[in-house]
């Protein structure tokens, strides 16, 4: 195991983040504030409570998920796409570094960044509403698993992409809609019955529901299901990465 290589990739990626730490953190802070102004003040005035939780607090887990998922994907996909794009990937390929080590470095860094962003959003949200976390350790488990899984997913997108448009395609057309429709800002029980069934085909519902359960003890689906969903998603991404490296898909000619 080339631990120094993992560390080199990880710190190199983290440096990119810290070089632009202000921009990196400013945008999630601003968007969280905006969401609170729009959803909390405007809608919250009408929907005071959802399942016994104030609406302002209710949307916090969804907000964190939205940022964490999109940030994990974009950081990891960009992280591996960029060396491919500018040609510096030759160095990774010619170094005594295994694919596992490369993935660990990039995915670890992307997951760390999104974790930091998630924490910053939580702290920002606390300025607006009071939040008590009912199952803190489960909250951390969900958050970390989701950061890692989505970073893996982003890594796959970065390998698959041949241009910048493709790089943004999946997050824009698939992930963001699924998160919005996945109950980030409402409870599934608030939907008409037919839509409640349709919604259950959206995998993100399970992730957000589980994460929210860790906060407030209320959930759209049972927390066990949520945990299983996270584990399955994680395993699928891991398997896809393994296949990619086995076959050299879009990395080696």
């Amino acid at each position: 195991m080339n631990l120094r290589a993992i560390w080199a990739i990880y710190t190199y990626e983290m440096k990119r983040f810290f070089r632009t730490i202000f921009e990196s953190l400013l945008s999630p802070v601003i968007s969280t504030t905006l969401y609170f102004v729009v959803f909390g003040a405007a809608i919250g005035g009408r929907i005071e409570e959802v399942e016994g939780v104030s609406y302002g607090a209710f949307i916090v887990p969804g907000l964190i998920m939205l940022s964490v998922m999109t940030q994990a994907i974009s950081n990891a996909s960009f992280g591996i796409y960029f060396p491919k794009f500018i040609g510096t990937i030759y160095e990774h390929l010619s170094a005594p570094v295994s694919s596992f080590e490369i993935v660990t470095g990039y995915v670890g860094a992307a997951a760390t960044k999104s974790l930091v962003i998630g924490a910053v959003i939580l702290m920002t949200a606390r300025l607006f509403v009071e939040i008590e976390i009912m199952h803190p350790s489960m909250m951390v488990v969900f958050l970390v698993m989701i950061c890692i899984s989505f970073a893996l997913f982003g890594f796959i997108i970065g390998i698959w992409s041949e241009n910048f448009q493709q790089l943004q395609l999946v997050p824009l057309l698939v992930v963001t809609p699924l998160v919005f429709l996945g109950g980030a800002f409402y409870s599934v029980s608030m939907l008409p019955p037919a839509w409640q069934v349709v919604t259950l085909f959206n995998p993100v519902v399970y992730l957000i529901s589980g994460f929210r359960w860790a906060f407030f003890g209320v959930a759209d689906v049972s927390p066990g299901f949520s945990l299983a969903a996270v584990a399955v998603f994680f395993a699928l991404c891991l398997a896809a990465v393994w296949v990619i490296f086995r076959t050299g898909y879009r990395i080696k000619s």
Partner: protein, 309 residues
């Protein structure tokens, strides 16, 4: 010294069916400078890529330092530094950081003294804190060399290090290569400039259309190249070369209207003066004389054409 790189029947067929390497075999001795000489599209980059792990070989074997590049890739790659043909550098990173990164990627611990020495050797020390995108093309290539050297490789592959580089910088680059050789690094450089192969290589491998046409000691090649031919046109054709001229091994051509004398320019004396005196003693009148040199270029073109035929 033994072979440090051994290539056996290595083949590479790209996905589109193009056979870029058609069974290449040769060895590289530890400590030598080998020039891989061939026209564009010959397969030089493909060969280097297959040896360094950039591309998977389709068949055959290659070993570096005794380690198979596919089965025992980690041990093989530890020994290898690669300077690619295309300049590729992270644009917003400082020079010294990209070099440190390379060392980490190869699993080596920090060694700032070594990095300083390498950057100084490549005249990059003053630019160590510059962002890579501020550097000129030649400087960028030096950074790539620094990145390849910072993990102390025993074998260095330089893929067209002087393509698109001005004459002065090319001289500098050759100087660097010689210094590295003095430090015991084995160097394989590809080029399509014959003068380059001639200037710095110990041995030259000529490659065309995915085949190695010859691997030869440069001195031998130079000897071939050093051979000149003196053509002597006679006023009166001769039926036989006179006995007294036997020592000169003359070749009779055009039914005796002309004689050819082959000689070595690098010998202790070409023998031309004595030959001309001997010709005069034999009473032969000369109409004209002419000398010709066969260059490495000619040898090379000849080989490439043979390969194409």
């Amino acid at each position: 010294m033994g072979a440090i790189v051994e290539v056996e029947n290595l083949t590479k067929t790209y996905k589109d069916g193009l056979i870029a390497l058609g069974g290449v075999s040769f060895t590289i001795e530890a400590g030598e400078i080998l020039a891989l000489l061939g026209p564009n599209g010959a397969g030089k980059t493909t060969l280097i890529s297959a040896l360094c792990g950039i591309t998977a070989p389709s068949g055959g074997h290659a070993r570096i330092g005794g380690h198979d590049v596919v089965r025992d890739w980690r041990a093989a790659r530890r020994l290898v530094g690669l300077v690619p043909q295309e300049v590729a550098l992270e644009p917003f990173e400082r020079v010294i950081n990209t070099v440190r990164f390379s060392r980490g990627l190869f699993g080596k611990g920090r060694d700032e003294a070594l990095i300083e020495r390498i950057l100084r050797q490549l005249s990059l020390w003053d630019k160590r804190n510059a962002s890579t995108r501020e550097l000129s093309g030649g400087m960028k290539r030096r950074v790539l060399i620094a990145k390849a050297l910072c993990h102390e490789p025993r074998v260095l592959f330089l893929d067209e290090p002087t393509a698109g580089v001005d004459v002065e910088l090319r001289r500098d680059m050759w100087e660097v290569v010689r210094e590295l050789k003095a430090q015991g690094v084995t160097i394989i450089l590809t080029t399509h400039y014959i003068e380059e192969a001639e200037a710095i290589a110990d041995r030259v491998a000529v490659i065309n259309k995915g085949e190695i046409l010859l691997v030869e000691n440069k001195a031998n090649l130079m000897r071939r190249m050093g051979r000149k031919t003196l053509r002597i046109d006679l006023v009166q054709p001769v039926d036989t070369v006179p006995e007294a001229l036997a020592a000169y091994d003359l070749e009779r051509i055009e039914e005796g209207a002309a004689l050819l004398y082959h000689y070595d320019t690098r010998g202790d004396g070409t023998g031309i003066t004595r030959l001309l005196q001997a010709l005069a003693r034999e009473g032969l009148c000369l109409r004209d004389i002419e000398t010709r040199q066969s260059s490495l270029e000619e040898i090379f073109v000849g080989l490439v054409q043979e390969g194409a035929a």
